[in-house]
């Protein structure tokens, strides 16, 4: 014991890092990271409470009423529903036909000017007809402020649903972009409208199947500014004549393209505006819009989804980008002059309730917009107040989901029960009280006007009407702003705290890693003095790994690099392995007389097998890269999987079976080198064989035509396979540390044929880690094989070969690392495995868009629908490769010769653990924490980027899921390591107590 003390004290300054401290700090850092991450996610992706379902007749009743009769009105035929709406709304629809002309990217400034100023001369000249409409009071225009992100799809959603969506509601609609919330088009469809869409195909993605006729154009070819609009206009004439539709959507992309090419002041801008003006003229002069049409009234509405900056970009939240247009042409009310035809204060979401009430449908449920003032001037006073009231009720309902305490005493169910208005007193207090007070004030003014309508003089009645309108608008505006603030505001404090927590945890992890490195290498130096000190200086591969991390962080700031991330991982991993190859060549013997041919012929078997295994890793990696094209921009390019799918399904099945068979053979082969405990190992081999056979039978019987038949038998079989695999893993894990003999003499420990035994330490001292190493080898291999078999079951048939390739890569890397012995630094090898895992992730066909997640896999072997189980299966399927490589860390522990680190006196549990699982756990955590923290900061910086919702946010979800997989993998590795070590230490201490003869250990 004294000797031990002395021994330790020599390295006391080095080994200040004990195992418990290491574990505590790591756990603390991980917990801090989880906390920071969850705070950031909560802050960045606010989950707004939303009302589900579709507005129906109940929206025409006060929110206080709980009527039951709504239920059966749901199934009314469209015509009856329409007349029901008309009856209970008390507002006759002003129009029954709508032409919605969307000019993509048109800033309202071009048409309406900025503030009090008129638009520039050139703009006025470019749109003469529209300007004349505005000047004559036949059109009513307003600046409709759009909410960021100012990109087409979310803006169209805002226009038709009146709601500002969060990102997560988009992300969780896997593979569908359809708008499922209550919206205007759905409402129109319910009352039997026929709809026609010409233009941007985004509408078709949002509303699949809703349009009677459609001609979608793609917004992909930004260079094209002419054809894209001609494709819309070519149908216009015919549609104006056919006139069997109620809604005609024209979505012109050309102006946006002009902006992207040349900016606001592009020479193409004026001709494009002229073209748009011509189209407005055509529509306005056509028969449809003339007043004496016996089909009823038609409204032409010209809107833009967003504006553009001076350079023509959009996506952010500057005035230029959010300044979009809403222009009503054909409203019956006339505006005497230009100034009153233009109103400033409106929002894009206001379009939804305005159109809803103009066309006699209920306001969509999650609308936060307010009726645009001036659009209802042609209605009677009574009807105008009623419209405002309906809008208020709808907002009040929505407010209640955000503020459950908002009851406003008891809202009167019938509209004018009592006049408990709070008069003109100011509304203060909590948010709930304020909203209640404002609403009740408006309602009171409304009812008092109503009751006094007949009695009081005309002028005072007019005043009262104005007061009521003003009071309604006050409530509506404040409520609307509060609601929109809830969805767009980012709580800065929360975000900062989240990022800070992640940064701190990242620093802690890196610091721990640094200390561990230092300690291990000093110890290595101490124990292996014969190793050349030259190999401890900074090497090329270490520099390169740091470079990889740096490049990764940099590349995440560019949207196209995020989209094409698979290239980066493959390129970096392959380069790293080429560097390993170079290193292997370095260590080949060199002599003066040696010529190239002699070296190749010579007896360098070990070195050459190392080089061979590196070649295997490289070639497998290249095939994996070619298997799926991946990414976003070049998915159409040919790859092996497309080629095979074209060939035939039988061919795929054959390949699948062959690769399954090879996985089974490999799994048995790798275990056959274990000589100790033959019977136990044989049992494990047999169980691999059985489960592999079952997987093959499942593939043969039930996976037909690349999709899995969901028959009862298939489900049962999959469940049996799950159960068997779980049992194998648990049995091996629990039993092998107990069955492996503790004392293995050197001759028997042939688990790694290339184990470096250059270090001469007492064999009895070595024996502990050797027994341990055999059991780690067995457990690690069991993990890997079971995971591969599971993936063969879950992955698409085409992915069977990639699974085999990944397995080969693992084996080859393990072999090459074991040959290397202590020459390679451990952290480099663990990093290399981690990189291989990430490269393999993309090799299995994953990408940074949510669309590539294989949803079908999540229903294999599930008999009843369960979100949790399906989610777990989806995770297993998507993160197959990173998890596989994390699990392989257990095997990696066994492949690495660490006996030199176990100085005889130091074989206590803590030290053993630290040496065994220190790097395999800390390196993935550290690497991932760098990526996570860096990308969080990037996401924060990019929050106004054009692609924040389409590229960066999905990538962030992937980063979060990767973090989760690293946590799971690392905790499995750590738990396995701790369990094995404690069992061995326990067995050793009990056996050494049992026979005192073997107590030669001092």
């Amino acid at each position: 014991m004294k000797e031990k003390k002395i021994r330790v004290s020599t390295s006391a300054r080095i080994s200040s890092l004990t195992c418990t401290r290491l574990a505590t700090w790591t756990t603390a850092a991980v917990l801090l990271q989880i906390l920071g991450l969850s705070l950031f996610v909560l802050g960045f992706f606010p989950v707004k409470p939303a009302l589900s379902g579709v507005s129906g007749p109940e929206s025409y009743r006060s929110p206080g009423c709980h009527s039951l009769e709504d239920l059966h009105s749901r199934n009314l035929p469209p015509d009856q529903l329409r007349s029901l709406y008309q009856e209970i709304s008390e507002i006759p629809p002003s129009f029954d036909r709508l032409i919605l002309m969307v000019i993509d990217g048109l800033p309202a400034e071009f048409v309406l000017g900025k503030g009090d100023r008129l638009p520039s001369k050139a703009m006025m000249k470019a749109m003469p007809y529209t300007q004349s409409l505005l000047a004559n009071g036949m059109a009513h225009g307003c600046h409709a402020r759009a909410a960021p992100p100012t990109v087409t799809m979310p803006r169209l959603k805002a226009m038709v649903s009146g709601a500002i969506g969060g990102f997560l509601d988009v992300a969780f609609n896997f593979n569908t972009q359809a708008l499922l919330d209550d919206n205007l088009l759905g409402q129109f469809y319910n009352i039997g409208w026929k709809m026609v869409m010409l233009g941007d195909e985004t509408w078709l993605k949002l509303f699949p199947g809703l349009f009677t006729r459609h001609d979608g154009v793609s917004s992909f070819y930004v260079k094209d500014t002419v054809e894209v609009d001609r494709n819309v206009t070519r149908h216009l004439e015919a549609e104006l004549i056919i006139d069997d539709w109620n809604l005609l959507i024209l979505h012109y992309l050309g102006l946006d393209h002009v902006g992207h090419i040349g900016g606001r002041n592009s020479i193409l801008m004026a001709p494009k505006l002229k073209e748009m003006d011509e189209i407005i003229k055509t529509i306005h002069l056509s028969k449809i819009l003339s007043q004496d049409n016996n089909h009823g009234q038609t409204l032409l509405m010209v809107v833009s989804d967003h504006g553009m900056t001076d350079s023509g970009n959009h996506g952010g939240s500057s005035y230029e980008e959010t300044d979009s247009l809403a222009l009503f042409i054909g409203l019956r009310s006339n505006f005497p002059d230009y100034a009153s035809a233009i109103r400033d204060a409106a929002f894009q979401v206001d379009i939804a309730p305005t159109l809803a009430l103009l066309f006699g449908v209920p306001i969509p449920k999650n609308n936060i917009g307010v009726l645009i003032a001036g659009t209802f001037d042609s209605l009677t006073d009574d009807q105008q107040l009623r419209a405002l009231e309906l809008n208020s009720w709808q907002l009040l309902r929505l407010l209640r989901t955000h503020l459950p305490g908002l009851s406003c005493g008891s809202l009167p169910c019938n509209r004018f029960s009592d006049e408990q208005g709070s008069g003109n007193s100011r509304c203060n207090g909590s948010v709930e009280q304020k909203f209640c007070c404002l609403y009740l004030k408006a309602a009171a003014l409304h009812s008092s006007w109503k009751s006094n309508k007949g009695r009081s003089s005309r002028s005072s009645s007019r005043d009262e009407f104005r007061d009521a309108v003003a009071a309604y608008y006050e409530f509506l505006r404040i409520a609307s702003e509060w609601l929109s603030g809830r969805t767009t505001d980012k709580p800065l404090g929360l975000l900062t705290f989240g990022v800070a927590a992640m940064l701190v945890s990242c620093v802690i992890l890196l610091n721990l890693l640094f200390h561990l490195c230092k300690e291990v290498y000093l110890r290595q130096k101490q124990c292996l003095p014969n190793l050349n000190s030259c190999s401890y200086k900074w090497n090329l591969d270490e520099t390169f790994i740091l470079g990889v991390i740096f490049i990764l962080v940099l590349s995440m700031g560019s949207s196209s690099m995020v989209e094409e991330e698979q290239y980066i991982w493959h390129f970096m991993t392959s380069t790293l392995y080429l560097i390993f190859l170079r290193k292997a060549i370095q260590s080949l013997p060199a002599g003066p007389a040696l010529s190239l041919f002699i070296v190749i012929k010579g007896q360098n078997c070990k070195k050459f097998s190392q080089m061979h295994s590196i070649f295997v890793v490289l070639i497998c990696g290249r095939i994996l890269r070619g298997w799926h094209q991946g990414g976003v921009n070049w998915t159409y390019l040919p790859d092996i999987s497309k080629w095979l799918e074209q060939a035939s399904t039988n061919c795929i099945k054959l390949i699948q079976l062959v690769s399954g068979l090879l996985v089974i053979i490999l799994s048995s082969y790798a275990l056959s080198s274990l000589r100790s405990m033959r019977n136990f190992v044989l049992g494990v081999q047999v169980s691999f064989f059985i489960s592999g056979l079952l997987v093959m039978v499942h593939i043969m019987e039930y996976q037909v035509h690349t999709s899995v038949q969901s028959s009862y038998n298939a489900t049962l079989m999959a469940q049996i396979i799950y159960a068997i695999l779980t049992m194998i893993v648990i049995a091996t894990l629990v039993a092998s540390p107990w069955f492996m003999p503790i004392w293995i003499s050197k001759t028997h420990s042939s688990s790694q044929p290339y184990l470096m035994t250059s270090v001469s330490i007492d064999s009895q001292i070595k024996s502990l880690p050797l027994g341990l190493i055999d059991s780690a080898y067995l457990i690690g291999w069991t993990y890997i094989v079971c995971w591969c078999l599971l993936q063969l079951l879950l992955q698409q048939p085409i992915n069977a070969v990639p699974i085999l390739l990944l397995l080969l890569q693992i084996l080859a890397s393990m072999l090459s690392f074991s040959i290397d012995g202590p020459r390679h630094k451990q952290w480099i090898e663990v990093s290399a495995l981690y990189f291989l895992g990430m490269a393999g992730h993309f090799g299995l066909g994953n990408s940074n868009t949510i669309a590539t997640i294989d949803v079908a896999a999540s229903f294999i072997g599930i008999s009843s629908h369960s979100t949790v189980l399906a989610g777990i299966l989806m995770f297993i399927n998507t993160y197959a490769s990173p998890m596989l490589f994390l699990l392989s860390m257990v095997m990696y522990i066994s492949m690495k010769d660490m006996s030199y680190m176990l100085v005889s006196q130091n074989t206590d549990l803590g030290h053993l653990l630290q040496m065994m699982i220190g790097f395999p756990c800390l390196i993935p955590l550290g690497l991932n924490s760098i990526v996570l923290t860096a990308f969080t900061v990037i996401l924060l910086l990019m929050r106004n980027h054009l692609f924040v919702w389409s590229v960066f946010s999905p990538k962030y979800l992937y980063v979060c899921a990767t973090t989760a997989s690293v946590y799971i993998g690392v905790s499995i590795v750590a738990a396995t390591g701790i369990y094995q070590c404690s069992v061995f230490v326990f067995r050793k201490s009990s056996s050494s107590k049992g026979n005192g003869t073997s107590k030669s250990l001092r």
Binding site: N532, R582, Q586, A590, F597, I598, R622
Partner: protein, 233 residues
Amino acid sequence: MENSTSKASRSQNDPVSVSSSPSVLEAFWLHLICGLGLAVAFWVANNVYAVNLISNPAQTLRLILVIESPIVIFLYSLFRQNPKQCSYLKAVGRGVLGLPAGAVLNAFGAIVLGTPVGIQYLTKTISWSLLMSLFTFVPAACVFGSSWTNWQRLFAHTKPNGILDYMICFPAHGAFLGAWLGAWPMPLDWERPWQEWPICVSYGAVAGYLVAMVASLGFIILCGGGRQHVKGD
């Protein structure tokens, strides 16, 4: 262990290599002629055959190869090791043999790093790897032949020793590094024609080669001159 042996071997080897070691001026002329050869090749491609890397990469690469390879092989063969035992023609022959052999290695590296494999890329890949081989392995083949020790010293350890080593090692590593860096713009969605394989990689390799020749000259003048002096003593 191996390091010490290689060190020992180098010290034994040095006198042999010194015998054919070029002077600073010779190195300067060699690099200048190689660089000018490249420039002439580009000029000929552009003005005589009216092709360039972007419009017709394979043909341009072949043209550069045809013009540059005699220059490189003949010039480097002048500085062959053991000139007494190895005739000039033999050195040239080694260089000619080294060209396809190095191309195979380069092609393997490129394919492993993600070069598209397909019939339509075959000629491009072959031309590119031949050119890369000319930049990287051919000089070494001319000078050292199949002497493993020297190859290992230059390409695995990157420990050039003396003017000749600088002249071979620097341009080769520059070409490797340039080609590696040149691959970076390929996955970006800029939709430029030069993002295709092997255009930007070739540009990178040529740029790296030229930059490294300048760097090699600089090193030769800064360190090599001094070393030469010491050895002269």
